[in-house]
Amino acid sequence: MNAPFPRRTLLAAGCGLPLLGCSARTPLPQNHFRLGVSGRPRSLDPRRATDALSSRLNRLLYEAPVDFNARFEPVPALMDWQQTAPLRWVFALRKSTRFHDGTPLTAEDVAATYASVLDPATASPHRGGLKHVQRVRALDGQRVQFDLTHVDALFPGRLTIGVLPRRLMKAGHDFNRQPLGSGPCRFVDANEQRTRLQRPDGALLEFIKVKDPLVQVLKLRKGELDWIQGGLSPELVRYCAARPELAVQWHRGTNFAYIGFNFRDSWLSQQPIREAIALGIDRAAIVQALFDNHARLAGALLPPEHWAGLKNWSGYPYDPGRARALLESAIGQGQRLSLSYKTSANPLRLRLAAIYQSMLREIGIDLTIQSYDWGTFYADIKAGRFQLYSLAWVGIKSPDIFQYVFHSQAVPPAGANRGHYANPEVDRLIEAALAAQMFAEQQRLYGQLQRVLAETVAQVPLWYEDQYAVLHRSVSGYTLAADGRYDGVLTMRRVQHG
């Protein structure tokens, strides 16, 4: 009697099956993209979102009245605007739009969203940006009127919060758990590990939390992820660029890295010491060695391409001889200065701290590095418990950031003047620029302001790190943006390789 399967077939199957289990991943459907992110979004309610990931996902879920162009000028998105009086702005819907539940988006929804942000009960972190709004009301189904208490030429740029349906807000809907907007993507579901959105073409965008950069890269190589953006060490990006199954996209970035000072410190309140630190750090060498030249030296908080940015100034040059002379003029010949430097426990930030420590040692400054987990570090910075620290400003669009960061009245919690910088000239220029009506006048005043900040070494501008994304070869069509927004996932598509 013949066996149903010959012995050799069984043997081959026995040997082959385990190998099949180790073969390449099962191909995903054409319309399913797995996107690696390092955490989960803190809030999918745009009124409360502050972290970069939440803001980027909320852009996909909700539409805001105003957006920004490449020069960081406010441009109409959902609405056009008109200043009808010095203290009055009227915004009008540009097109007929519907929320994802099918209900039409009206001016009532826009007014209700911004009224909700202004309501102290909402506890929105964006309320401060709208503090000059006295009243907001819908004039009709298409138009919303904002009455201000102060003249604010930058006002349109403040309306970048996504619009929510008034009906659901009144019903106390939890937008963080069940977001509902009118943006290009519809919310599907979310848990601790992933957030799933659906594109207008039905494609599924699955944002998967993978904390460790090394694991992100391994998953990308294996095909378990299609895309990651930012968060890798420069060497890992270089590694990805050399892999045939991966592709790296670069884009000039605008995130501003800097070293901040505590101006209440007896040493750091002295300008020669701050200048010595600025002159003692070889930023160009760091950018070349660590970032592979994928960063631009920064001279000011706003990048040069910003309409209010400072042109032709990229910060203090590396001059250790002059740095040492300045330091000795402040602390005495042959003396050394001991300072502490706080940073997060991020490996790249720690590496940079060790590099600054080494460079500043050469000019006579002994830097003690204090690294903490992000929560402790950020709490210390906000409370002013530091001598030196390093952070980055991410996604800055409006020049009113200067008021928030450098005005003497903007000490936390009122603003982000964490080092207690106080300069009457800077206060005057900030107030004059905010009150200026003419664009050219604003540009001139902001230019002057940034020059004063540079001359007084209000901070050490470091660089603007380039944005990058790493994609598996099986996807294409992604376009990177300077601010790192994820809008490019809307055009992502899967390609078949022979």
Binding site: P213, L214, V217, L218, S233, E235, L236, R238, Y239, A285, I286, Q288, A289, L290, P347, R351, A354, I355, Q357, S358, M359, I369
Partner: protein, 271 residues
């Protein structure tokens, strides 16, 4: 004995190499700490045959400093643990009674708690640093010496030579030091050999977790921790300290095993 030493030449050689590395670290200068931007994660060259780390520092010199740290910690932990544990075990075993019951209870409590977890907790409370690592590991490590010393003392205290010494009017310290402790040295030596391996791996573990040796001081554990972030691009950062750690722990454990077998008459004489 000579034959036994010759049989263990590989393990003894590895431990001597560890000692040599630690001594060679005395000659390492500032270059081990100097950041060198052109050499970030660079491979081996004539100046550093193990390549460079993420700050351009030579891995070989950091390896030497790591050997020095691990040797310092291991010797200190074994010495203090052995002195403390043996003293407690001697007293418990020799006097017996309520003292023995109390000390045995304390030993049992320590044994019931996972050692490394206790060390992690202590290191977290005390804060990082070499001294605190040693304290944490001694707090965990004395127990095995105490248990061994107590068990041995219990059987030794009624031996004829001890009874004779007591009958001749010898005081307790003299009896313990002259007639009991010398007979404990061999088993305690075996325990110390295992203790060295345990201390080296525990120090590396604590440093790997960020609770041990802190920069700019070097430790094999912290080198491995830093290296894991660059595993794909610079595996030498993990391989070099990993192999060194493995070699020392393996050698110490194998030597301890061999010594224990040597002291065991039944094993030595064979069937």
């Amino acid at each position: 004995m000579k034959r036994w030493l010759w049989q263990q030449r590989i393990w003894i050689g590895l431990l001597l190499a560890w000692l040599a590395l630690a001594l060679a670290a005395l000659g390492v200068g500032d270059t081990a700490y100097r950041v060198d931007l052109p050499h970030l994660l660079a491979g081996p060259d004539a100046n550093s045959w193990l390549g460079y780390d993420q700050l351009g520092r030579p891995v070989w010199e950091r390896l030497l400093l790591g050997a020095q740290t691990s040797l310092q910690v291991a010797l200190a932990v074994v010495l203090f643990s052995a002195v403390l544990g043996t003293t407690i075990g001697l007293l418990a075993g020799y006097y017996g009674g309520w003292l023995d019951r109390v000390l045995t209870g304390v030993i049992d409590v320590f044994l019931a708690f996972p050692g490394l977890l206790l060390a992690i907790g202590l290191a977290a409370v005390l804060g990082p640093g070499v001294e605190n690592v040693i304290i944490a590991l001694v707090v965990v490590g004395w127990v095995s010496y105490a248990r061994l010393a107590r068990a041995q003392t219990l059987s030794l205290r009624s031996r004829e030579h001890v009874l004779a010494a007591r009958a001749l009017g010898a005081g307790t310290p003299r009896i313990l030091l002259r007639h009991v402790v010398p007979l404990l040295l061999a088993p305690l030596g075996v325990e110390a050999t295992f203790g060295i391996a345990g201390a080296v791996i525990s120090e590396a573990g604590l440093s790997f977790l960020g609770l041990g040796i802190q920069p700019p001081q070097d430790s094999w554990g912290s080198m491995i921790r830093e290296g894991t972030r660059y595993l794909l691009v610079a595996p030498h950062l993990v391989i070099a300290p990993g192999l060194a750690l493995m070699a020392v722990v393996l050698a110490a454990n194998r030597l301890g095993d061999a010594w224990r077998d040597y002291l065991d008459i039944k094993t030595r004489s064979g069937p």
